[in-house]
């Protein structure tokens, strides 16, 4: 059952996007996420839709995989839409029933937040679907390198991420095995009240924890035996090289963002209202 969980959801394929440098992809993805907050008009969203469709098509990822990640936040999406529809009180009143009032402003914000959240997820899932977790780790390490100057333990952070990635499959297997073993001893995880259910997890958590310590000790021994002593003078096998793809992609992306910003500039009035609303409403900022 737990084995069905695929981590990182990398979708192996050979595409332009797959072959891009992970650092460039990561940076552009961040830029996209910021950029999407500057899009306020529906024309802007139409523009981004075209952009995303082109992006997905060129990445050779089946639409199914993208929709799957959107499905992951479906509850959040519905909540956002409902909260926006019922709690925004700007524009003209459309209908009223008991204490519920729906304004056209509410529908407008609900639609926009829906698109924004969906596109955020779509954009970032293009990154995670086309980049292996290992590449992402390397990209983060490489991009954070300048922070070494201010004594941020960049190497250690990257190592922790890399170790976590390599331990996760084993941990999932082990959890699965312990659950089965306790089930065989009559453990029941599906019935009873909350307290009972939480208590039912003790026989899983303790063996996992004990196993975790055992693993950690063995791993530490293995690392020490292979001459690990922190980041001093460490070299790396993997060299990340920028190729023409990265420059082309960056160029296209920048062109895209410049357009977005220009459109934003033309509609700055709306945007101020929008940002202001974020603070007033006090609900949606949680998500960002």
């Amino acid at each position: 059952m737990l084995k069905d969980v695929t981590f990182g959801q990398y979708y192996p394929a050979d595409s332009f996007i797959h072959r891009m440098d992970a650092r460039v992809k990561l940076l552009l993805c961040l830029l996209f996420m910021v950029g999407i907050f500057f899009v306020t008009s529906f024309a802007g969203f139409a523009f981004i839709t075209v952009f995303l469709i082109t992006l997905i098509a060129s990445s050779r990822i089946p639409l199914r995989s993208i929709l799957k990640s959107v499905k992951g936040i479906i509850v959040l999406l519905l909540l956002t839409v409902i909260l926006n529809i019922f709690f925004t009180k700007t524009g003209t009143l459309l209908c009223k029933w008991w204490i519920f009032e729906i304004y056209d402003g509410g529908l407008y914000f609900a639609a926009k937040m829906f698109l924004r959240l969906t596109y955020l997820v779509v954009g970032s899932s293009v990154l995670t679907l086309t980049t292996t977790p290992v590449d992402l780790t390397h990209a983060i390490e490489s991009l954070l390198k300048p922070l070494k100057v201010i004594k941020v333990p960049v190497h250690e952070i990257a190592l922790i991420m890399s170790l976590t990635l390599s331990l996760i499959p084993g941990l999932i297997d082990e959890t699965d095995r312990i659950i089965r073993a306790q089930k065989a001893r009559g453990a029941n995880f599906d019935t009873g009240g909350l307290v009972k259910r939480v208590k039912a997890f003790v026989p899983i958590l303790i063996p996992l924890l004990v196993g975790g310590f055992r693993r950690a000790e063995e791993l530490a021994n293995a690392m020490n035996s292979r001459c690990y002593e922190g980041s001093n003078k460490r070299t790396q096998m993997r060299i990340m090289k920028l190729s023409w793809r990265d420059f082309v992609a960056t160029f296209i992306a920048l062109l895209f963002f410049v357009t977005v910003f220009v459109v934003y500039g033309m509609q700055s009035k709306w945007a101020t209202a929008d940002v202001g609303w974020l603070y007033i409403n006090g609900v949606n900022w949680l998500y960002f």
């Binding site: 290992v134 990635l165 084993g170 791993l219 001459c227 690990y228 096998m237």
Partner: protein, 283 residues
């Protein structure tokens, strides 16, 4: 030439009783042992006999409470030497899943040379020659998670080899594997030894000991006997006392010999023994 020397080495683990008072439980005590360069030495004993403690003393993972461990002329108790010692003594552990540091085979193998600060082109060369030595080149870009236990251990061996050590210690590296995985690891160990590597094999499977230059038998934290495999196999009383078994065919050969059969001692191959027994029967 001796590559590893242990002189009167003792190591105690700290333990606590129910009241929390510290006590000392013995790991190993009064160990004297020298290992020749290029030798294939097996270290056998039951679980808790101290053989794994001894293994961890060989590359400074543990430092003796008394006595000295010298590796390539360097004392493991001197912190300055640790790096140099670990460069010379590679280690492969028991659980194949708990030694992987990366989620791609080649990056895992590269971990050692990266730590040593080896220049990038040389890391690639070392990684691929190590993978070749263990016959895992085709898996370089794969995730180790999906491999069999034996294959994972071969990756771990490659990880140790990439450091280019003089000695490689197998700390019960076969204990969790199925018979095929065990064969894989053993054949790599034998091949490495043929190429001049000093191999120390820690195990409780007596069959793996066959063909070693020397067997060190441990029990209760002490070395109880050092000898050739044939001498150890022949010492039935010793094996019984330390809770180990001679391979069944060896045991049968010994029994038959004791009642006057003319058979080769230490016959690991049961078929050969069968042929010999038939010859005896038709005589």
């Amino acid at each position: 030439m001796d590559i590893i020397t242990l002189e009167n080495v003792s190591y105690y683990y700290k333990t606590y009783d129910d009241e929390g008072a510290a006590a000392q439980a013995s790991g190993v005590e009064g160990i004297n042992l020298t290992i020749r360069e290029g030798a294939f030495v097996a270290l056998v004993g039951h679980n808790g006999s101290g053989k794994s403690t001894l293994a961890k003393l060989l590359n400074g993972l543990l430092v003796p409470n008394s006595g000295t461990v010298t590796v390539c002329g360097l004392d493991t108790a001197d912190k300055k030497n640790i790096f140099e010692i670990r460069k010379n003594v590679g280690m492969v552990f028991q659980n194949p899943d708990n030694q992987m540091v990366a989620s791609i085979v080649e990056e895992d193998v590269a971990f050692g040379p990266e730590n040593l600060g080896v220049p990038q082109p040389e890391i690639v060369e070392r990684v691929y020659s190590a993978l070749e030595q263990v016959g895992m080149t085709e898996y370089a870009k794969r995730s180790p998670h999906k491999l069999s236990g034996g294959q994972k251990q071969r990756i771990a061996i490659a990880g140790a080899l990439a450091i280019r050590p003089k000695v490689i210690v197998f700390d019960e590296s076969t204990a969790m594997l199925d018979p095929q995985g065990r064969r894989e690891v053993l054949s790599v160990a034998r091949e490495l030894n043929k190429q001049g590597m000093t191999v120390i094999l820690i195990t409780h499977f007596m069959e793996e000991v066959y063909g070693c230059d020397e067997v060190v038998v441990m029990s209760g934290g002490h070395i109880v006997k050092i000898g050739k495999p044939s001498e150890i196999f022949a010492d039935e009383r010793l094996l019984e006392a330390v809770g180990l078994d001679a391979p069944r065919s060896v045991a049968l050969a010994a029994k038959l010999k004791s009642v006057g059969f003319d058979v080769t001692e230490n016959c690991i191959d049961a078929r050969t023994l069968g042929v010999e027994v038939c010859r005896n029967l038709t005589k």
